[in-house]
């Protein structure tokens, strides 16, 4: 009996065994055997992108909106190097991805062959793990381990490089449940993990007078149940909660405890509360520099609890008092049961005073902007978009820049996994392919990419993909003809010298959409805005809505680089003192 099948068949079989439904990819010489096998089967759908960079962002959007692992298939050389940005993005934002790359046949490796590159060498620092598979009989075990590693612990991208001769070679397939992965290669907390620390943390919370929850993307990666538990625990404690850019949606915007986003462009009340709290409960966030501002002035008087699945995040930039290493849903579940067991109750008198203080900060109304005249303010455009889509199942993706921050500030998220943005790496060009991925995962949902005029051009070629697969993705461009965030920094920190931040010769976005046989819409004034948004929603086709917004609007509030949480700028008139501005200039 000969049970041998080809390497390419093993690849497809492994994917099917892992429950993969869709692969985002682009063919090429070194992956032709896999594409040939793909052609002969019907269980796995392939989405053909227009550039490999689009494939990996689409896989990220698919993964983050569905909770499944995104799969990418590209060829050797340029195919592999084009996914490097997306791999790094997935690494920074902890997105589970398995990326398959073709490689030149083994006898050509090292000879500078056509479309050869050192893929595993190039991608080593931007993947959780990677493989060069030289033996066809190891292919299935590598695949099953790769999927496990991508999803296990802190999720991330894993790359599998397969030489063309291995794709052609015959070997045996091993099923998923027959593979045993040594425990040191995975993150496996013991059932009784960190019990004492959890008790210590809960006691600390119960004694707090000015507590605040600081919630990050780890809560989303831990699955929908984690968000439910986090909400439940916050409700029991009655403490205010602020979320990072990646954590938006874990607690609903309309929740009475929610102070919204914190950090550089976060809410005044959230940052002030972080600065003045006495107990900070960080769940699944990593004290990113966009959140902390100046480290030596970060929440100076608080005891800090830090729940993170990745031990290397503990004491990396901020020293904490009670570190807990584990998965959010397990840790928070235990926290709730400890709280209930010990019948803890927070001092309601102090908590009331704390909320009174926070409510005073809220009166500052930090998102206030001047909305006079009939020119569309970008903030107003996002507000209207929210109002007109809030009753529909909507996924929002963004590119990177001012529009991203306005989307985070003005679009209200009530559920996890509905907000897809490039947080850690800050990848312009992420949003549109990510929206394609999200739409593939949720064919009936409304998926909108809130974009800027500069960012959207970075992956505009994917229009062709969206139209080919009849994906009714909506691109909502806040068009100010500038790289807005660059312009804002140049205005605030570089004496208004707008070096190369104005985009001359932008395309006519309406005609651009039409040339792809999609629908193009335009709003130039506030009177046209609602009509355009409604028309965009109702159109059963890919749409570009070109929203002309005021050109020199700045994104406020803002903690300038090198400043602390209690030194927020609320408007342009409130200039930072010159010395710290000079110091801040060297920061990113």
């Amino acid at each position: 009996m000969n049970n041998e099948i080809t390497g390419a068949e093993i690849v497809l079989k492994s994917l099917a065994d892992q429950g993969v439904e869709v692969v985002f990819g682009y063919p090429g010489g070194a992956v032709l055997p896999i594409y040939d096998t793909l052609f002969k089967q019907n269980s796995i759908k392939h989405v053909l992108v227009r550039q490999e960079g689009g494939a990996i962002h689409a896989a990220e959007g698919y993964a983050r909106s569905t909770g499944k692992t995104g799969v990418v298939l590209v060829t050797s050389g340029p195919g592999a190097t084009n996914v490097v940005t997306g791999l790094t993005d997935a690494m920074m934002d902890s997105v589970p991805i398995v990326c398959i790359t073709g490689q030149v046949p083994q006898h050509l490796i090292g000879s500078d062959a056509f479309q050869e590159c050192d893929t595993t060498g190039i991608t080593r620092p931007c993947t959780k793990h990677n493989y060069l598979v030289k033996d066809v009989n190891k292919l299935s075990s590598v695949f099953h381990e790769a999927f496990t590693i991508a999803q296990n612990g802190r999720p991330g991208p894993v790359l599998i490089d397969i030489p063309k001769d291995v794709q052609f070679a015959s070997g045996t397939y091993e099923e998923k449940n027959k593979i045993v992965i040594p425990s040191h290669r995975l993150f496996e907390p013991s059932p009784d993990f960190e019990k004492n620390k959890i008790e210590e943390a809960v006691e600390l919370i119960s004694k707090a007078k000015k507590p605040i929850f600081y919630i990050g993307g780890g809560c989303i990666n831990s699955g929908p149940k984690a968000s439910k538990l986090v909400r439940e625990f916050i409700d029991i404690v009655g403490a205010p909660v602020t979320m990072t850019l990646m954590g938006l949606g874990v607690v609903g915007s309309s929740d009475k405890n929610s102070l919204g986003m914190l950090g550089m462009h976060g809410m005044y009340e959230a940052n002030m509360a972080m600065h003045e709290c006495d107990v900070m409960i960080n769940i699944g966030a990593r004290f990113d520099d966009r959140v902390t501002g100046r480290l030596d002035a970060f929440s100076p008087n608080s005891k800090k609890i830090h729940v993170d699945i990745d031990e290397s995040n503990i004491n990396k930039t901020i020293n904490v008092d009670v570190p807990i290493i584990g998965d959010v849903k397990q840790v928070v579940e235990k926290m709730i049961s400890v709280w209930n067991e010990k019948k803890y109750k927070i001092d309601s008198q102090s908590l009331k005073l704390w909320w009174d203080k926070i409510n005073k900060w809220k009166e500052v109304d930090c998102l206030n902007y001047n909305n006079e005249g009939n020119q569309i303010k970008p903030q107003y455009a996002v507000q209207r978009l929210y109002e007109l889509t809030k009753n529909t199942k909507t996924f929002i993706t963004t590119e990177v820049g001012q529009h991203q921050m306005w989307a985070a500030q003005f679009y209200k998220f009530e559920e996890p996994n509905r907000w897809l943005t490039s947080g850690g790496l800050g990848t312009m060009g992420y949003g549109f392919p990510a929206a394609i991925g999200a739409q593939v995962g949720h064919p009936d949902a409304l998926v909108i990419d809130i974009a800027g005029d500069a960012s959207i051009l970075m992956n505009i070629q994917e229009m062709s993909t969206a139209v080919q697969y009849r994906l009714p993705v909506k691109i909502f461009i806040l068009n100010n003809e500038y790289m807005g965030m660059v312009r804002q920094w140049q205005e605030l920190l570089h004496g208004g010298r707008y070096s190369e931040s104005y985009t001359d010769s932008l395309p006519d976005f309406v005609k651009l959409a039409e040339s792809y046989r999609a629908v193009g819409l335009r709003a130039k004034t506030t009177d046209e805005l609602d009509d355009v948004i409604n028309q965009m929603i109702e159109t059963k086709n890919t749409v570009i809505a070109d929203i002309w917004v005021t050109k020199e609007e700045n994104c406020f509030p803002m903690i300038q680089s090198g400043s602390a949480h209690n030194e927020m700028m609320l408007s342009k008139d409130q200039k930072q003192d010159k010395k710290s501005a000079e110091k801040g200039k060297i920061l990113v």
Binding site: G121, P125, H184, D289, T292, D296, S312, I586, L587
Partner: protein, 180 residues
Amino acid sequence: MNKSVYDSPDQVSETKRHILTVLVDNEPGVLARVIGMFSGRGYNIDSLNVAEVSNDENISRITIVTHGTSEVVSQIEKQLLRIVPVHSVTNLDQEGSSVEAEVALVYIYISDTNKKKVYQLCDLYRARKIENENNTTIFEIAGASERVNRFIKEINEITKVEIVRSGPVAISSIQKNEEE
């Protein structure tokens, strides 16, 4: 703690030398992962040594000498543990008691005038003469790095030498149960 230009909280601990011993699966690229982590995150490698220690289990031991504050070194340990083929990371300085040794091969230019002094010194340090077919005089010295340093310093005062050093390897000397 980190090298961020964002001001760090006041540093308290001093920079010290640390020896880390890392057990890894012996698979392609594992050394590149380890040293890539050091260079990518701006940590220091003073010396590095790698060899297979168990044939049947396919495991290698990497001994790394680094220096940094205790915060930096603890971050290094955690970053090493994130690497998939890494089994364990031990900071021998935290284990308390450890034994370290390195090997140096020393090519010594010998003349009639310095011959006696050279041999006396080599005797003193128990440096072993290695015979070879070219009749050159090569000595091997093993032991703690400071001992090797002292030997090299003294022999340098006598004559010209060429040196190759392995860098230290080390092992914890704490008593262990056999099962472990």
